[in-house]
Amino acid sequence: MGGLRKRDWWIAFFFVLPVVVILLAISIFPMMYSFYLSLCKWDIGMGGQRTFIGAGNYLRLFSDARFFNSLKNTGRVLLFGVGAQFALGLSLALLLNRSFRGRSLVVTLFLLPMMISPVVVGCIWKIIYHYQYGPLNYLLNRFGFRSVNWLGSSNVSPYSIVLADIWEWTPFMVITLLAGLQAIPDDLYEAARVDGANRWQIFSGVVFPLLRPVVVIAILIRVMDAFKIFDLVVLLTMGGPGQASESVAFYNYLTGFKYFSMGYASAMSYVQLAVIVAIANVFLRSFRGREVV
């Protein structure tokens, strides 16, 4: 029996081994190596030597105004972008959670922005935002408003990125929340109605509490994704004017692959990771406390 168990163990070991090796090679080792790099000064512009400097890169980050500016811009995308995506997504999901003719077609059309390649989304919005020839300013002018400097103003350009992000990713919220809404049994609505609940009471007392797990996951996925926003920044503003719309991911890219300060870029990545883990934890904890029993 013991011998058989030992043989089984070895079979299991060899079955698992390739996966472990692959995971170590492509995930664990790079993570450990990049963490080690974050503790080194390694500017490879001139084939520079790698020098261990401990927390030096992390300390440098705390005095880097450009990094904090990029964090602020990323925070703006999380707050206004994901916030609006959730509000719009929930509203649209509630509207679509009823039977009407052509519903499937409408749902499919809503999904289109999410299905388009991000590069194409960036190009489309670059045309839309064009100061002189863009359709958005044309419409504003038609309704008597002045043209807006969407991409060339340091005050507006960060919000132009947020707006394009809302357009691209609201469909994700719609489809996720719609799936959650459709999983709520009709009996619960009927029971609430029988108890005399009005529409708002049904939404706040039945629908939203049951939808909360889906809401948490949908927002969390979007928050994690939006924290890495890069494509729209590159395509719309290149982080400009100046550094006005640089996101953390974009600044990290510049540091690593334009200035080739690999140690500093690694430290920046780990700080980003810590921030996103912290946000996710706070978010999950705040919702866990209100779970429906």
Partner: protein
């Protein structure tokens, strides 16, 4: 035995096919019109040199990192590289480029025909030849000569400013002319009611190249990059601050979104007829003469960039940003064949390539300037001569772009600071002080003594050919 013979025959056939197939060379460069010659001559190159080209285009602003990542990793991914001269020093110093001197005797690249700036500084490093020129960039002033010659406009200008309307030669005149031609939709321009806003001027506002538009002013005021002796950054000098103040004035007469302008936007605002004048690369003059790309064909004049008046003379300096040279990766599969290809493009076909509006390539050889008839997009040879004379005038007073290791970072940090001043976030002095501090940090990272030696060598070379 029969089977063995058949196998042997098949092996010999396969081996001979493999041996006879052309050498595949991978070319990398900024995507778009400047890679076209590699496509146009692919067949010729295959026939002449038995090479097959695989062309990889990457976005204009990302060429440096794409090339450098592969070079650092030693992947041998590229054979021929379009390199902006500002990367050349760094790539050559790291041993990533193949020195070309050994090939020069075998196949003459006719370097005596190349103007000094491109020959001596954009292709060489440490006395060795690492590249052949491909694109001769220098900034020139392009303006609407039809509007400048309009009697109604001339009269109005004289009434307002007290002197005749003419091509601006100083920055003060540039500001006057830019202000004068800035009009709102509904106002009149040359007797016609404007359907949309018209701007006096525009510039390249994105942070990667904005330094050059500031640099035209800075250089004309006598500015230099570093103090040669101490290597203290000199961009925040009096000349630097004054140049930025002038740029802030210029900014008032530009499209509101000018800080988002790259090459395409700056070209389009002028060629769409929405702007009176721009300082731009020479290809804009060619493209402006092509009806497929321009709404102002026959209406473009070209002159030297403005400057400052000193002792009765105009002192002007035209920045020479960008430029393109053809280099061979040290790990190339076949450097000799790669050299033959770049020689073909830099010597044999270069006149055709710089004289067509289909590329963004600009003249860099004396022979390019000596053949105005080749520039067929112009209405006549006289127009082509005027264009070439304008470009050459700027080239003679060219202000070289730095080609030190780290130049990409120097220029971009300066670009960020310039933009922060132009948006009003910082005053010019504080912005440039910030950039100077960033330059000091970069200097330290790249090694101050090494950078100093290289900079002194550069300046010595610039002086020798009269560019400093």
């Amino acid at each position: 035995m029969r089977k063995f013979l058949l196998f042997l025959l098949a092996f010999v056939l396969l081996a001979s096919v493999a041996y006879a197939s052309p050498v595949k060379l991978v070319v990398v460069g900024d995507a778009g019109h400047n890679l076209k010659p590699f496509e146009w001559y692919a067949k010729d190159l295959k026939e002449k040199f038995d090479v097959e080209l695989e062309v990889i285009g990457v976005p204009f602003g990302e060429l440096y990192e794409k090339e450098k990542v592969e070079l650092i990793a030693g992947t041998g991914a590229f054979d021929i590289m379009i390199v902006y001269p500002k990367f050349l020093a760094e790539f050559a110093a790291n041993g990533w480029l193949y020195p070309l001197d050994e090939f020069v005797a075998k196949l003459d690249p006719k370097l005596d025909d190349v103007t000094p700036g491109y020959r001596d500084f954009y292709c060489k490093y440490g006395g060795k030849l690492y590249a052949l020129p491909y694109d001769g960039d220098v900034l020139s002033l392009y303006y609407r000569k039809d509007l400048l010659e309009n009697e109604e406009e001339r009269k109005a200008f004289k009434e307002k400013y007290g002197y005749d309307l003419k091509v601006p030669e100083t920055w003060d005149e540039y500001l006057d002319v830019a202000e004068f031609f800035t009009r709102k939709a509904g106002e009149k321009l040359a007797g016609e009611v404007l359907q949309r806003d018209f701007y006096g001027t525009a510039y390249y506002g994105q942070k990667d190249q904005i330094f050059a538009w500031w640099g035209n002013i800075f250089a004309s005021l006598g500015g230099v990059y570093f103090d040669e002796e101490t290597m203290e950054p000199a961009i925040n000098s009096e000349a630097g601050v004054k140049a930025l103040e002038i740029m802030k004035e210029i900014h008032k007469y530009c499209p509101p979104d000018v800080l988002a302008y790259g090459y395409e936007e700056l070209k389009d605002v002028f060629l769409n007829g929405d702007c009176f004048m721009v300082i731009q690369w020479p290809c804009v003059g060619k493209k402006g003469a092509d009806p497929a790309q321009s709404k102002i064909v026959g209406k473009i004049g070209v002159s030297h960039v403005p400057g400052v008046k000193k002792d009765g003379e105009i002192y002007y300096r035209a920045m020479m940003p960008c430029g393109r040279v053809l280099a061979i990766a040290a790990q190339s599969k076949d450097p000799w064949k790669a050299y033959q290809v770049i020689h073909y493009l830099s010597v044999v076909t270069s006149l055709d390539d710089v004289s067509t509006p289909e590329t963004g390539l600009d003249p860099y050889r004396y022979s390019h300037f000596a053949h105005p008839e080749a520039y067929e997009m112009f209405a006549n040879v006289e127009d082509a001569k005027i264009y070439l004379a304008g470009v050459q005038k700027n080239m003679e007073k060219g202000y070289p772009e730095m080609v030190l290791p780290g130049t990409v970072e120097y220029e971009e940090t300066l670009g960020v600071a310039l933009t922060r001043a132009l948006t009003g976030e910082l005053d010019p002095k504080s912005a440039l002080d910030e950039a100077a501090q960033a330059w000091r940090d970069i200097l330290e990272r790249f090694g101050k003594e090494q950078q100093k030696a290289l900079y002194q060598e550069l300046v010595k070379g610039w002086r020798a050919v009269g560019l400093w």
